[in-house]
C-alpha cells in the first residue's frame, strides 16, 4: 500500500513525531512513560467522547505540557473498516482533518512553558534487543484480488530476535549432526509461535503451544564461506486455534504451509549475519462480523531478512509485547504457556550462585511464617538462593536485618534477566500450595513471581504473577495448584530485571495448602478448561444443583444483587445486551456478541476489596445453550488488572453453582469491578444468588 507522501511531509514539517508502544508504556518505568499514562486517557476521552471503548492506541496531538489538541484512531473513528489497525498505510483524509483542527487549537491555545530539566531525556523507555541478539526483520503480505483494500494490501512487519544462546545451541546441534538436524527448541518455538503469524491482518497474537500441530524443520550444513558457517533449511508448519487465551476470545485462525531458508552464522561472535527465509501457505483469518475481510482464507507470504539498521536495534518484536497482562484488560492470562520466549518465564531457571563477595549469613533472615512446612529450604541463608543474571543483568544478594537484600546494578532488558531464585523445589501436579513473602523496594517496582520448571521448556509450574512492590513492606500471598511440574526440578523466582535498584524480601514460605490430594478429585475440571485462562488464585468448585450463597445476608460486597438496577451491561465494539428480572434471577439477553469475550457482559463496579484479604465469590447461572464465559474481578481503571480471580466458566442449560475463594491483589480503593464476560456470542443466560464475602 502506497503511503501518502503529502502526509509524510506534513508530519515532518508541522509536528514533532514520536512513536510509542502501549505495552512498553506500562512495562518500563520512566518519566516519559509515567507522563503518557497520565495524559493518554484524558486526551482520548475528552477529544473522542463518542468512542465507547477507551484504547491507548491511536495518534495523539499534544503540547509539550500535556495539553491535548487532537486524537485519532481509525478503527474507532469510522475511517477504517477494521478495528485492529492504526497503521500508516491506512491513514485517510479524516486524519488530515484531525491534524488541521489540532494545529488550529495549538495556535489558539498554545501550551504552557515547561521545565525541560525533568523530562527524563535519555531514559530508556523501550524494550531493546541486547547487543548480542541477532535481529531479523519479518514482513508479510496477503496478495488479494482487491488492490484498493488498504488493509489487506498493507505490508505487515515484525522483528524476530535470535539470541546468542540460540546460535550456540544451533552450532552445537550442527556439530553433533551427521546429516540434517532440527532447530534447537527455543529457536524453533519462537520462530513458529511468534513469527509465522499474519501481521498483514494484524493477527499478531502468538500461537499458544497447543495451537501448533506441526513444526518440522530440516536444517542441512553448507560449506563454510569466509569463516562463516552456512546452512539451508526447509520445513512444514501447521497451526490453528479456536480459542486464544491471550485474547480470552474464540477466534478461528489457522496457517499452514512450507518454509525454506538460508542463513549464515559468525561462529566467533555467535551472531546470525545472513538470514533469508520465505514461507507460504493458506491462512484463515478470525471471524469478525463487522470486518468480513478478516475471516477470509488467503495465501499468506512471509519473508525474513537480517536487519542491522537503527530501528532493528531499538524496537522489540510485537510478540514480546503481547506477554504483558496490562493488555488483557484484567483477563487472566498466565504466562505459564509462554514457554521459550522472553516474557515472564526466564529462559533459564538454572541461575548462578550468589555473586562473590557476598557471604552467607545464616540465621540473619527470618524464615517464613510456616517454617515447619516450608517447602523452600534454608530461606534464612544466602547459600540457599541463586541470583539469575542473564543478558547483561547484574545483581548481588546480601542481608539487611531480617531480609534478603537484592541490589540490581544492571537490569538487562527484561524482567527475567535478573531475579532471586531457589531451584530444585519439589512440587506435585494437582496439589495446592500457598506462597507467602514480604517485599519492599527503593522505589515502586513491577516484578514477576512464581514457579517454573528447570530446563526445557521452562514453563510455569502453576504460578506466574505480576506484582508491584512498593517502598513500604507489603505482604504477598498466592494460592495456586501446581501443574506441569517436574520431580525436584521446579524453581521459585522473583524476577526483577529491566531496571536497577534495591529490593528487600523476607518471610518467604511455600506450604502445601488444604484442599490438596483427595479433594482434588472433587473439582469439576470442566470449569478449568485451560490453565492459561484459569486464574489459579481462585478455583471454581464442582457445580451442584443449588447451594445457598454463603452469608449472603451479611457482608455481601455486591450491592442489590436481586435488582437489575444494581448491575451494568457492558456493551463494546458492537456488543449488545439487556437485563430483565425473571423470578429470583437476572436474565441477560445478548443480541450482539461483539468480537471478544468482554464486549458484552454483566458488571458491578465500585467494589471495595483490599489486597491480601481472602474472599469468597458465589453465584448460580444457566443459559439457553452451553455457554463459555469468563468471570472474575479486576480493577476498573487502566491498566485493568486482575485482582486475584479470573476464570473461564462453562454455563450449562441447568442451574449450576459457581463458587471460589481467592486472595485479592492489586486492588484499587472502591474501584474494582465484578464481571461475567459473555461475548462474543449471543443468547440468553440467567444468573442469581450472587455474593462476594470476605473470608474471616
Amino acid at each position: 500500500m502506497q503511503q501518502d507522501p503529502k502526509l509524510v511531509q506534513r508530519i515532518k514539517d508541522q509536528f514533532i513525531p514520536v512513536v510509542y508502544n502501549t505495552y512498553e508504556m506500562f512495562q518500563v518505568n520512566s518519566v516519559s512513560n509515567s507522563w503518557l499514562q497520565r495524559y493518554g486517557p484524558l486526551i482520548s476521552n475528552n477529544l473522542a467522547p463518542s468512542v465507547k471503548e477507551k484504547t491507548w492506541q491511536g495518534y495523539y496531538i499534544l503540547g509539550a505540557d500535556g495539553t491535548g489538541y487532537g486524537y485519532w484512531h481509525p478503527g474507532h473513528m469510522g475511517d477504517s473498516p477494521t478495528m485492529a489497525t492504526g497503521r500508516f498505510g491506512v491513514l485517510t483524509g479524516g486524519f488530515h482533518q484531525v491534524l488541521d483542527v489540532s494545529l488550529e487549537r495549538f495556535r489558539t491555545h498554545p501550551p504552557k512553558s515547561i521545565n525541560t530539566e525533568d523530562l527524563g531525556v535519555g531514559q530508556v523507555s523501550t524494550l531493546k534487543p541486547d547487543p548480542t541478539t541477532s535481529v531479523i526483520r519479518v514482513l508479510t503480505r496477503l496478495p488479494c484480488d482487491d488492490p484498493g483494500d488498504p488493509f489487506l494490501n498493507n505490508i505487515g512487519r515484525d522483528f524476530f530476535w535470535i539470541y546468542r544462546s540460540d546460535v550456540q545451541e544451533l552450532l552445537e546441534a550442527a556439530d553433533a549432526a551427521t546429516q540434517t538436524f532440527d532447530f534447537p527448541e527455543q529457536l524453533k518455538a519462537r520462530l513458529t509461535r511468534f513469527h509465522l503469524r499474519d501481521h498483514s491482518r494484524a493477527m499478531r497474537v502468538p500461537w499458544m503451544p497447543e495451537h501448533v500441530h506441526k513444526a518440522r524443520y530440516s536444517v542441512s550444513k553448507l560449506s563454510d564461506l569466509n569463516g562463516m558457517r552456512r546452512f539451508r533449511f526447509s520445513g512444514e508448519f501447521a497451526m490453528s486455534q479456536s480459542f486464544n487465551a491471550i485474547w480470552g476470545a474464540y477466534y478461528g485462525m489457522s496457517y499452514q504451509g512450507n518454509i525454506e531458508g538460508e542463513f549464515s552464522i559468525d561462529p566467533v561472535a555467535l551472531r546470525v549475519v545472513r538470514w533469508r527465509v520465505y514461507a507460504e501457505g493458506p491462512c484463515r483469518g478470525e471471524p469478525a462480523p463487522h470486518d468480513p475481510t478478516r475471516q477470509t482464507d488467503f495465501t499468506l507470504m512471509i519473508g525474513m531478512k537480517e536487519a542491522d539498521d537503527a530501528e532493528a536495534k531499538e524496537y522489540a518484536p510485537v510478540g514480546f509485547s503481547w506477554q504483558y497482562p496490562h493488555n488483557l484488560r484484567g483477563k487472566p492470562y498466565k504466562p505459564q504457556e509462554d514457554y521459550r520466549y522472553p516474557a515472564g518465564v526466564p529462559k533459564s531457571r538454572v541461575a548462578s550462585a550468589p555473586t562473590s563477595g557476598v557471604e552467607a549469613s545464616p540465621s540473619k533472615v527470618a524464615d517464613g511464617a510456616i517454617t515447619s512446612t516450608n517447602l523452600l529450604e534454608g530461606v534464612g541463608t544466602l547459600s540457599a538462593w541463586q541470583v539469575q543474571q542473564l543478558e547483561g543483568g547484574k545483581a548481588s544478594i546480601g542481608t539487611e536485618n531480617d531480609a534478603l537484600q537484592m541490589v540490581v546494578t544492571a537490569g538487562g532488558s527484561a524482567s527475567w534477566h535478573v531475579g532471586l531464585h531457589q531451584a530444585d523445589r519439589s512440587l506435585q501436579d494437582g496439589k495446592n500450595y500457598h506462597l507467602h513473602f514480604e517485599a519492599k523496594a527503593g522505589s515502586e517496582w513491577k516484578m514477576w513471581t512464581g514457579f517454573g520448571i528447570q530446563g526445557e521448556d521452562y514453563h510455569s509450574a502453576g504460578l506466574a504473577e505480576a506484582i508491584t512492590v512498593p517502598t513500604e513492606w507489603k505482604t504477598f500471598d498466592f494460592d495456586f495448584t501446581a501443574t506441569g511440574t517436574r520431580p525436584n526440578r521446579n524453581a521459585f523466582y522473583i524476577d526483577m530485571g529491566g531496571r536497577t535498584g534495591t529490593v528487600w524480601v523476607r518471610k518467604i514460605s511455600l506450604a502445601e495448602a488444604a484442599g490438596s490430594g483427595a479433594e482434588k478429585e472433587t473439582r469439576d475440571r470442566s470449569n478449568v478448561p485451560n490453565k492459561a485462562v484459569f486464574d489459579e488464585p481462585g478455583t471454581i468448585k464442582k457445580g451442584q444443583d443449588r447451594v445457598p450463597a454463603p452469608d449472603a445476608a451479611g457482608g455481601n460486597l455486591l450491592k442489590g444483587v436481586g435488582t437489575i438496577s444494581a448491575w451494568q451491561v457492558q456493551q463494546l465494539e458492537g456488543g449488545k445486551g439487556s437485563l430483565n428480572q425473571e423470578n429470583d434471577a437476572i436474565r441477560v439477553v445478548v443480541t450482539a456478541g461483539g468480537t471478544l469475550s468482554w464486549h458484552v457482559g454483566l458488571r458491578q463496579a465500585n467494589l471495595n476489596l483490599s489486597d491480601g484479604k481472602r474472599y469468597r465469590l458465589h453465584f448460580e447461572a444457566k443459559a439457553d445453550s452451553e455457554w463459555k464465559m469468563a468471570a472474575g474481578l479486576m480493577t476498573q481503571d487502566a491498566p485493568y488488572q486482575s485482582i486475584g480471580l479470573g476464570a473461564e466458566i462453562t454455563v450449562p442449560t441447568k442451574w449450576k453453582t459457581f463458587e471460589c475463594t481467592f486472595t485479592a491483589t492489586n486492588t484499587h480503593p472502591d474501584h474494582n469491578v465484578f464481571f461475567i464476560d459473555m461475548g462474543p456470542r449471543t443468547g440468553t443466560a440467567w444468573m442469581r444468588n450472587f455474593s462476594l464475602t470476605e473470608e474471616r
Partner: protein, 87 residues
Amino acid sequence: MRCTGLLSFALCLLSASPILSQNMPSRFFKPGTSLETKLQSVLPKSGEEAYRTIPWHYDLGQAREEAQRTNKPLLIWMMDGHPMGST
C-alpha cells in the same frame, strides 16, 4: 482470479490448492524459483515505507524538549506493539 500489483510477475502461475501436502506447491512461484526471488516479492517496494523517512522520536523527553523549543505540537503514534516494529 484477477492478478494484481506486487506479484503480477508470478501470480496465477499455479492455481491454489487448499490441501496441504508434504510438497505443497507454491501458489505464486514455479518450481525451481530461487529463494531470493520469493523473498524479494515480500520485501517492501518504493513508496511502501515512506513513514520510515519521518524522523520519529522514541525518546519522548527529548521530543517534548524539541516541541517546546520549536513551538510545534507532538504527534504521538501509539499502538499495541511498536509502530516501528509492527506497522
